[in-house]
């Protein structure tokens, strides 16, 4: 990898917001293709950031500012993408289920998914089964992400999956679930396609769904 690509990666990892746009411009002048800058520097850096977060080396503030730095770089390079190169990796609907107002985790996952190149539609908190399923029908996303913090609202995830089946949409969307009381066993039990323990795992899972 060229020196400038390393410097872009380091800028994202170390949250150098004042440097990122100049560095990306430098890479463009060097003739590095836009897609390479995105995948091998910007997104690759966020993978490192995600791993550092999962291991407890950094915390939410550091991760979010890295994501912000990455987006600033992305803003420079994105207009240079041509044709399908500019398309997102896929659309993801994200929401906290009915009866649950907790959205810290969901919002962090959204920022990381956007950083990984996905187009994310936020359904907010307290999202009813009908609202979620209607939006799946409207946006036709590749992935639906459902979040819950309370054991009492977890069953709403199963209700969403049930109504997706009833309306013939279940096979058209991958469902991933997350939140403090949720685990792999629960995800399997309710018929979800996967569970992410934290934002970094959610990104990995989403990538595996669209690869």
């Amino acid at each position: 990898m060229s020196n400038i690509m390393d410097r872009i990666k380091t800028a994202v990892e170390d949250r150098k917001r004042n440097e990122i746009q100049n560095l990306v411009n430098e890479a463009i002048v060097e003739g590095i293709p836009a897609e390479t800058i995105i995948n091998e520097a910007l997104i690759a850096a966020m993978d490192v950031v995600g791993r550092r977060f999962s291991s407890g080396e950094i915390f939410v503030p550091e991760m979010l500012v890295s994501a912000l730095t990455m987006k600033m770089g992305l803003d420079i390079v994105k207009p240079l993408l041509v044709g399908s190169e500019g398309a997102s990796r896929g659309t993801i609907l994200m929401g906290t289920v009915k009866g649950d107002l907790h959205d810290i985790g969901k919002n962090i996952v959204i920022m990381m998914l956007e950083g990984a190149g996905f187009n994310v539609v936020d359904l907010g908190v307290d999202a009813t089964v009908e609202k979620v399923v209607d939006k799946v029908e409207e946006f036709k996303p590749e992935i639906l992400g459902l979040s819950a913090l309370l054991t009492t609202t977890m069953p709403e995830m199963q209700n969403v999956i049930q109504v997706l089946k009833e309306r013939g949409l279940r096979d058209k969307v991958k469902v991933m679930v997350g939140g403090a009381p949720v685990d792999t066993k629960f995800a399997e039990k309710i018929g979800a396609d996967g569970y992410g323990e934290d934002a970094a795992q959610a990104v990995e899972l989403a990538r595996s769904f669209v690869s």
Binding site: R15, R17, S54, G56, I58, F59, V60, P61, E62, L64, V65, L68, L101, D103, I104, G105, N107, I108, M111, V125, T151, T152, A180, P181, E197, D198
Partner: protein
């Protein structure tokens, strides 16, 4: 088994001295559970009934909330939401049409220095101490109040919005520090009034500091912005002979040494979804009184026999020598199975007599 309230019982446990029995301890038991126990409705305004519940159920204290979050957490009814609503209504009568526009549960208000400057801090600091004062006349002998107050971290991030707060910690640290200071000064002013009330025996700060995976912000950021205020609270409590308690969800492993260093006496609930209370006891049990850890999921969906077995094990392994009180893994919500709540309480009374021989 002595069911009479005796705050000395709790104090002994906190000081790692064996009292007559392992104390029962909760920061919150929702009113439907209290009502079912007493066989009559307990309402937020009925202090007498609340005191009757806590006393008859075997607790040595009643927890009462005073602060910006009053009556207990951020809701449409909480003091801070009402202050924001009144302020917004002054600017625009239409503000009331959508309660999400002023309800701190849904939205946040301090994103810039200008927002900080125009926030109604004085109004927000005008707290209601009436219940804390009134309760003195209905407390039975031996019972004291634990004032639930002093929330700083949660209130600050809620006022700023979590993502905005988190990013501002790096991008505009002074703004975050100033919001922390304003919130902390209000809480410290409240503490001064609380400390003047002889029927208050302890302060209980309910402030979630961690996710299930670890601290919500770095340990260094807690040291810079949050822990100095807790240290001040603990110090003022200790000067007046009160002990200092904390509730936090999440995995606190990385924070506990700092919490002990700043003067924490009691930690609840050692979140069973992500913490091993026996490990915490092994590492810090001689410095902290541990409370709780009976999983709320068990209280919701388990069998009474499972609850009993859990409480028995907790008492057997944690209570010898004092320093442990029986309680839930968070609080007792209205969705807890009543029979399981009763099983937890009954098991604590059945197995909790000192000396522990289980």
């Amino acid at each position: 088994m002595d069911l009479k309230p005796n705050f000395e019982r709790l104090k002994k446990a906190v000081k790692h001295v064996e009292p007559d029995r392992v104390p029962l301890c909760e920061v919150l038991i929702e009113y439907p559970i209290q009502s079912r126990f007493l066989g009559r409705e307990v309402t937020p305004d009925d202090l007498q009934a609340q005191v009757e519940f806590w006393a008859k159920a075997g607790y040595d204290f009643i927890p009462l909330t005073v602060g910006m979050m009053s009556p207990g957490r951020v809701t449409q009814e909480s003091a801070i939401s009402q202050v924001i609503r009144d302020t917004m209504l002054r600017d625009s009568p239409e503000a009331d049409q959508d309660d999400k526009s002023w309800n701190l549960e849904y939205t946040s208000f301090i994103h810039t220095r200008e927002d900080f400057e125009k926030f109604p801090w004085e109004l927000a600091g005008n707290l209601d101490f009436s219940k804390l004062e009134q309760v003195a006349s209905v407390l039975p002998e031996g019972m004291q109040v634990i004032a639930v107050s002093g929330k700083i971290f949660t209130l600050t991030w809620m006022l700023m919005g979590f993502n905005h707060f988190a990013m501002s910690l790096i991008l505009d640290e002074q703004l975050v520090a100033d919001v922390f200071r304003q919130v902390a000064e209000i809480q410290l002013k409240a503490l001064e009034k609380i400390l003047d009330m002889p029927h208050v025996g302890a302060l209980w700060v309910v402030d979630d500091l961690a996710f299930g995976t670890g601290p919500m912000i770095s340990v260094e950021a807690f040291r810079d912005h949050v822990f100095p205020w807790y240290r001040e609270m603990a110090s003022r409590c200790h000067e007046r002979g009160l002990f200092f308690c904390m509730h936090s969800d999440g995995d606190l492993t990385k924070l506990i040494p700092d919490l002990i260093d700043m003067g924490l006496d009691l930690l609840q609930p050692i979140d069973p979804t992500c913490s091993d209370i026996f490990d915490v006891k092994r590492k810090y049990g001689d410095k902290l009184c541990l409370v709780g850890n009976v999983s709320n999921e068990l209280l919701r969906a388990g069998a009474p026999s499972e609850v009993e077995a859990t409480v028995k094990e907790l008492i057997a392994r944690l209570a010898p020598g004092g320093g442990y009180c029986v309680g839930s893994g968070n609080s007792v919500p209205d969705w807890a199975d009543f029979d399981n709540y009763m099983a937890m309480r009954t098991a604590a009374l059945k197995y909790g007599s000192y000396p522990i021989n289980l």
